[in-house]
């Protein structure tokens, strides 16, 4: 622009100004309108969209896909076209050039022309830059992947993304043998919440399946999703699922629909993935769906992991059911058949079931659809139901998980949680073994034992739950359920109930019901016979506990030691803190009483008083009630006649007349055997019963 042009411009501008309008209000009015529109627009987005806030910054999360604010996206996108060494061009050269260009613009464009049509170069440059930036921005938005892939419309993936991905990223490495369902439901690791409150159990299973088998999830969406919801299939029987996949079009429920032959369209690996997705390799659930029906809550299994794996995968093993028509009349059989086809129908079906079937079938009723078939099976008995060959049905991951769970369950692992809760919340008043003790909230009151089978038999789970949740304010027990202001949620209370219930079968200590404050006034030998004799024997020569007359025992323990052991108990044994129950005087008396017992190395043998037990009148009824349900015609030791008792069994003879120590039968019922479990498996017989059997053996096991 030369001087002449400048002058010309200023003159022209002066004229324009004179023809113009005052800034206020003409111009400012427009400005005000525009500002108002912007203001209202901003309020609207603030209200309808709001300022987003994502999860708290997590520097250790490496799966987050960073994205800059949208107006920087074009630079971000530019980087993609200048890889490696050339990056500098996108990052430094282009922006710097752009800024310099902007600054220099008035010097680069020196013409006097102002209208854009008259400055084509500048106009083209500007329009193309704007178009370029817009293009890059749109491109970048299109190419940025969504944070963690949400396979669209997949409810389980959505669950995962919404609940898990923020901490776990796209995938989780689950150590082998983890019970994922538990982990998710209870959140038992650092900082992870218990999801059971927010997610249904079926969804947790599906989630576990998804985590363990993301591939299966994709397959499910591709193949099954049109007709099935994940939570529906996840809850179904693995044998059916397997059949549906294997039989393809031949699978009956699929007969009506047009579907491909799965066998052909998907490889065996993919079938495994799909099965793992639907039946997550999650031992507890596998057990619940596949085994619990026959085996109840857990199976006691003494072998090792490999044996168990073989056993499960080979299946087939099963005891034979006796032909019930030999024992029951037709009426009873048909009642039973009716009962198993419709468990809610008749009244005395359940009694019959409890009497004859429950010892093997447990609480689970083997339901059947067909009354005639049920009738037939019950009447004829036999190997009516063999264990499926699980190896053919379950995937190897599922088998591993199942084996792990079964082993743990056999060792009582699921009870550990309950035990922990009990120790934390209840043991202060009820004692570690539920044996009770003085009531800390009410002086001169004693809390009765809650771990005896007598006590537990008379309270069902619901009652126990209520007591724990609501407390017993009259007795000084505060409510523990969170609904009543206590610290435990429903799941925890249930866990406690399960734990306490487990005492019914295996009471930690059998206290005579009449033990209460009054027994404190008993003399030392009375206390001894009532309490200590259970474990240490009536004569102090030991039973479950050590002999108190053993010379080594006496040498190792000062009177003070004995006093303290009684009052403090031994952790992890049924020897409880008697100090909580008995006064110091009584314990001192007991100590004196024990020291007064004559030293003898007669051994850890309960010596039978040669009272007389008649086999037919005393022993046989016990066998009939306690052993015969299993030890009959089913093989193994047979308890049904004197002959059988003396001669049958894998390790026959099980009874060696006059020799308690070596009679397997005696070992089994007192719990001193070296291998296997105490018999009966439901819990020790009463002392009286044991004594009768032992007496009979001592007396030479006569057939009288």
């Amino acid at each position: 622009m030369n001087e002449k042009e400048k002058k010309a411009y200023l003159e022209q501008y002066k004229k324009d100004k004179e023809k113009g309008v005052p800034f206020f209000p003409d111009i400012l009015f427009k400005d005000a309108i525009v500002s108002l529109i912007i203001f209202l627009g901003l309020i609207a987005v603030a209200y309808f969209i709001g300022a987003p806030l994502e999860e708290r910054a997590n520097p250790s999360d490496t799966t987050y896909t960073p994205k800059p604010e949208w107006y920087f996206l074009f630079i971000f996108q530019l980087l993609k076209y200048f890889p490696g060494e050339l990056e500098v061009v996108a990052v430094v050269v282009i922006p710097t050039l752009a800024i310099i260009l902007l600054f220099l613009l008035p010097f680069l464009d020196l013409s006097a022309k102002r209208h854009f049509w008259n400055r084509p170069w500048i106009t083209v440059l500007v329009v193309s830059s704007v178009a370029g930036v817009l293009f890059l921005t749109v491109q970048s938005i299109r190419e940025t992947p969504p944070p963690v892939e949400i396979a669209q419309g997949d409810p389980i993936a959505t669950l995962y993304v919404e609940n898990c991905a923020s901490c776990h990223g796209g995938t989780i490495n689950v150590p082998e043998g983890t019970n994922l369902h538990d982990v998710i439901a209870q959140g038992n690791h650092e900082g992870m919440p218990a999801w059971s409150a927010d997610i249904t159990s079926d969804d947790i299973d599906a989630l576990a399946g998804f985590i363990l088998s993301p591939g299966g999830n994709a397959l499910f969406n591709e193949l099954c999703r049109t007709c099935h919801e994940p939570s529906e299939l996840v809850a179904s029987d693995p044998i059916e699922l397997k059949a549906a996949l294997d039989e393809g079009r031949a699978y009956a429920p699929h007969a009506e629909v047009t579907i491909p032959d799965w066998n052909e369209v998907i490889t065996p690996q993919k079938r495994t993935a799909l099965l793992n997705f639907l039946i997550a390799p999650d031992g507890q659930r596998l057990f619940a769906t596949n085994c619990a029906q026959c085996h109840g809550r857990s199976i006691s299994f003494a072998g090792n992991r490999d044996e168990l794996r073989d056993l499960i995968s080979q299946g087939g093993l099963h005891l034979e059911m006796p032909p019930w028509r030999e024992t029951l009349d037709n009426n009873q059989i048909s009642t039973l058949a009716e009962y198993v086809t419709n468990p809610t129908a008749t009244g005395n079906g359940s009694e019959l079931f409890a009497q004859y079937c429950a010892s093997c079938h447990g609480e689970r009723i083997p339901t059947m659809d067909d009354y005639a078939a049920a009738l037939e099976i019950i009447a004829t008995g036999g190997a009516h139901q063999t264990m499926p060959v699980w190896g053919e049905v379950l995937t190897s991951e599922q088998l591993d998980a199942l084996v792990n769970f079964t082993m743990d369950a056999a060792r009582g692992a699921p009870l550990e949680l309950g035990q922990g809760l009990f120790a934390e919340n209840c043991a202060i008043c009820h004692g570690d073994f539920g044996e009770g003790g003085p009531n800390p909230t009410r002086p001169d009151d004693v809390i009765a034992p809650i771990s005896t089978s007598e006590y537990l038999k008379t309270r069902d789970d619901h009652t126990l739950f209520q007591i724990i949740a609501q407390g017993q304010p009259n007795f000084g027990m505060s409510p523990f359920g969170s609904a009543f202001g206590g610290p435990l949620d429903d799941d925890q209370v249930n866990t406690l109930v399960v734990f306490i219930r487990s005492w019914e079968a295996n009471p930690p200590v059998e206290l005579p019901p009449e033990v209460d404050a009054r027994s404190v006034k008993l003399s030392a030998d009375e206390v001894y016979t009532q309490l200590c004799a259970q474990c240490h024997g009536t004569d102090g020569l030991g039973l479950i506990g050590p002999s108190l007359r053993d010379p080594d025992f006496r040498a190792a323990n000062t009177p003070q030691d004995i006093f303290e052991t009684i009052s403090r108990g031994h952790e992890a044994t049924p020897m409880i803190r008697w100090g909580d129950l008995l006064g110091e005087d009584t314990i001192q008396d007991l100590t004196d009483f024990i020291l007064g017992l004559e030293i003898s190395d007669a051994g850890v043998q309960p010596q039978a008083t040669p009272g007389f037990s008649s086999f037919a009148e005393d022993v046989m009824p016990i066998f009939e009630a306690k052993c015969a349900p299993c030890h009959g015609s089913m093989g193994g030791w047979d308890s049904e006649s004197y002959e059988a008792v003396m001669t049958t069994g894998r390790n026959a003879p099980t009874v060696i007349p006059s020799d308690i120590e070596n009679s397997i039968l005696a070992q089994k019922i007192t719990g001193t055997q070296t291998a296997g479990k105490i018999m009966p498996p439901g819990g020790k017989m009463t002392n009286n019963e044991i004594q009768i059997v032992l007496d009979w053996i001592v007396a030479g096991a006569p057939d009288n």
Binding site: K30, A46, P66, V91, V92, P106, R114
Partner: protein, 221 residues
Amino acid sequence: MIAKIANWFDERVGWKVIWEAIFLRKIPKVNWFYTLGSATLFTAVNQAVTGILLTIYYVPTPDHAYDSVQYITTQIPMGWLIRGLHHWGASAMVVLTVLHMLRVILLGAYKYPREVTWFTGVFLLLVVIGFGFTGYLLPWDQKAYWGSTVGTQIAGAAPVIGDWILRVMRGGPDLSAVTLARFFGVHIWVLPASLILLVAIHMYLIIKIGISAVPKKEELA
């Protein structure tokens, strides 16, 4: 009455002269595109007002930033509005600034005698970008943290001094409490101060020189 008070003040303050100079000055007839500058100014004021309100509760440390922002959004009455206005106002301001600049370019308004206005404008553009960049980190959520990590990384790609720039921006090798504190300091002190200074010059020049007339297609040579 009002006129009396106004006069009383005018005798001492002389506001009428200023009022006439700024508001009653004559201006060539212009079209709606000329409102873009004031619109930008409006968003700038919006950012300043809401930004100042945000600092009342916002705490720029990694332990508290996120919680305080969440507190503002969910607990404080109208907090959602203040933060929403600031959040969306930032985007609006960027857009409007650029549109305003495009208007200035296409209508040749950067030419004699308005070159200095243009220079202050370019600086203003840089300041606005600076606001957007530093503000993005402040909520300390995932997008803030990772977006700024990448953003500073990009700046660090410059040859030779890149690494040094990166360290200066982050206040160390990593994005940390130091980064948050300095982004905050820049966002609420350095940049607003520059913004006010530049806008003041920008406005002074616009009033002094007068706004350009809409150019006609048939221009004198």
